[in-house]
Subunit: 151 residues, 2 copies
DNA sequence: TTTAGAATTAGAATGATTCTAACTGCATTG
DNA sequence: CAATGCAGTTAGAATCATTCTAATTCTAAA
């Protein structure tokens, strides 16, 4: 956990790789890389279990604990986002563009929705003077296109 | 759970009371009433455990299971709202006015923030045609006034 | 008063996540 | 090159919030 290690973090070996995201140079081990790749290739906001499933073809030995470790590392370094839509399993996404999550209460699907205008939610709400905002999470719940058509 | 009971719901006894909220006439047992009252008197978004604590002075025998049952009943009847801000315990609030939640990442406090203009968040986001929105949840994370002043 | 259904209870069960302790392997130091 | 140390990884235990189950109590209708 401590970033103040004497070990040089700059030297990359064959088992080590890096990823430059948003200007940050993040060191990725093979497992972290695979977890990230799975997430980057997914648009359905997989859970930790989903990710373990998808990673298993390439890394059959990976454990759930490692998936959680990797997700924690990637989240804390800003490469992915953690989404809480309801009680139960957390979901993850690699979409770093500003967006919100639409959650279909019928089929459980989660889709990203992007803003159609430059929009800062924090401006619309009366927060006490001196409040510092680091991030906002907007979740929209309802019925998706498909489920709405069926009913 | 079924609302289609033959039992007349209109007859109230000394141990039964009702509450008219938003036009709905909701039947409240003493325990449900106490849970609701505790929540209505709280502005700090208590968890189920917090509520059990606060209810205990009036109902020493109440169990956590009953608190959860009451919260479920009140939530499904629209008398209170369930808030998920992060992994861990859910929080509840009895503020039914349109508002969002500000969560201080330093002290953990949650405060309600009200809109300063008539505002529908769903309008700002590109949702597929045919999507039906039932509710939106906006959580703002950051540092509150007090914690910001200390740092 | 009998009976049925709803509410309540304690404790067990579940499910997601985190923790612990042991192990592996690379990389720096001697 | 060998020794040492630390990050990464692992399986499984532990924890925590919540839900379920079965038994009990209460209320109201027949």
């Amino acid at each position: 956990m401590s970033p103040s290690t004497t070990r040089s973090p700059a030297k990359a070996s064959g088992l080590d790789c890096r990823l430059a995201v948003l200007g940050a140079d993040v060191r990725l081990t093979p497992h972290r890389r695979e977890v990230f790749d799975v997430l980057a290739a997914s648009t359905d906001h997989p859970t930790a279990y989903d990710i373990l499933d998808r990673v298993k073809s390439r890394s059959p030995g990976m454990s759930l604990a490692t998936v959680y470790n990797c997700l924690e590392h990637l989240t804390s370094h800003g490469l992915i986002k953690l989404v809480h839509l309801e009680r139960g399993q957390s979901r993850y996404c690699a979409n770093l563009h500003e967006h919100v999550h639409f959650h279909c209460e019928t089929c459980g699907k989660v889709i990203d929705a992007h803003p159609n205008a430059d929009f800062d939610p924090a401006k619309f709400w009366n927060l006490p003077a001196g409040t510092r905002v680091t991030r906002t999470d907007l979740a929209i719940h309802g019925t998706c296109q498909n489920c709405a058509a069926k009913s």
